[in-house]
C-alpha cells in the first residue's frame, strides 16, 4: 500500500450517511412508534384525536422516507468506495463515521426541530428540556467518539479484500 494515496474520505462520507440513517431509524422506530413519546409535529399538532394522529403519522412516514433515502445513498457511496483500491478498508474509520453520522443526526435534528422550531420535543411534559438537552449531549458524545475513531483509523492502510491476520497469527509472528 506504500505510495498509493489513501482516500479515507470516501469511506467517511458513506459511513456518515449510513449512520444518519441508523440514527433516524432509531428515533423513528423507538421514540415515535414503540415508546410513542412524540411524533413529527406533536408540539404544533398534538395527536389527541384520530385526525391529528393520522396527520402526524403522515409526517412521520415522510421523515422515515427521507431517512431511508439517506441510507440508500450511504449504501451507494459505500459500494463505490469498496471498488476503489486507494480507499483503506478500515473498521475504525467506518465505525467512527457511523457514530459520527448518528451523532450528527441527533445534534442537527435536535437543534433545529426541538430547540429552534419547536415542532416536537423528545419527551414532552415534565423534564422536557432535560430530555432535549440529553438528546443533544448523546449526539455530541457520538460525534466526538466517531471523530476519535476516524483519526485513529488514519493509520489503517489495508485495502479491501486483503487478508486479516488473526490474533493467533500475530502472536506466532511475534514469537518467531
Amino acid at each position: 500500500m506504500a505510495g498509493i494515496p489513501r482516500h479515507q474520505g470516501a469511506l467517511i462520507s458513506a459511513g456518515v450517511l449510513l449512520g444518519t440513517g441508523l440514527g433516524g431509524f432509531v428515533d423513528g422506530i423507538l421514540l415515535h412508534q414503540l415508546l410513542q413519546w412524540h411524533s413529527m409535529l406533536s408540539s404544533q399538532l398534538p395527536p389527541t384525536d384520530l385526525v391529528t394522529m393520522k396527520v402526524n403519522m403522515f409526517w412521520d412516514g415522510l421523515f422515515h422516507a427521507f431517512t431511508w433515502l439517506m441510507t440508500v445513498m450511504g449504501l451507494g457511496l459505500l459500494w463505490r468506495a469498496g471498488q476503489r483500491p486507494e480507499v483503506p478498508w478500515s473498521t475504525r474509520t467506518f465505525v467512527g463515521a457511523l457514530s459520527m453520522g448518528w451523532g450528527l443526526f441527533n445534534v442537527v435534528e435536535g437543534l433545529i426541530d426541538h430547540h429552534l422550531l419547536g415542532i416536537h420535543h423528545v419527551h414532552p411534559g415534565a423534564g422536557q428540556l432535560a430530555w432535549d438537552v440529553g438528546f443533544l449531549l448523546f449526539g455530541a458524545l457520538l460525534v466526538g467518539a466517531g471523530w476519535g475513531l476516524i483519526r485513529a483509523g488514519r493509520r489503517d492502510t489495508r485495502p479491501r479484500g486483503a487478508p486479516v491476520s488473526t490474533v493467533r497469527e500475530r502472536l506466532v509472528e511475534r514469537r518467531a
Binding site: P5, R6, H7, Q8, G9, A10, L11, I12, S13, V16, L17, T20, M40, L41, L50, V51, K54, V55, F58, W59, L62, F63, F66, T67, L69, M70, M73, E86, A97, G101, L104, F105, V108, E109, I112, D113, L117, I119
Partner: protein, 70 residues
C-alpha cells in the same frame, strides 16, 4: 425466470396493500386528514423536515473532500 416471478409477486403484494390502505378514501376522516396535510402549512413543514438532512448531506460531502489523498 425466478427474478421475474419475484418481481411479479412483489408488485401484486404492493397492489393489495395499497388497495387495502385506500379502502375508504372518501370517508370524512380521510378527507379532513388530506386537507390538513396538504393545507397551507405543507411546504413549511416539508422544508423544516428536509433541512436537517440537507445539512448532513453537505457535511458528508465536506468530509469526502477533506479525506482526499494528500
Amino acid at each position: 425466470m425466478r427474478d421475474s416471478r419475484l418481481v411479479s409477486f412483489v408488485l401484486l403484494v404492493g397492489l393489495l396493500v395499497t388497495t387495502a390502505a385506500s379502502a375508504c378514501p372518501n370517508c370524512e376522516t380521510s378527507q379532513v386528514v388530506k386537507a390538513s396535510v396538504l393545507g397551507e402549512d405543507f411546504w413549511r413543514y416539508l422544508v423544516m423536515m428536509v433541512v436537517p438532512f440537507l445539512f448532513i448531506g453537505a457535511v458528508s460531502a465536506y468530509l469526502y473532500r477533506i479525506g482526499l489523498p494528500r
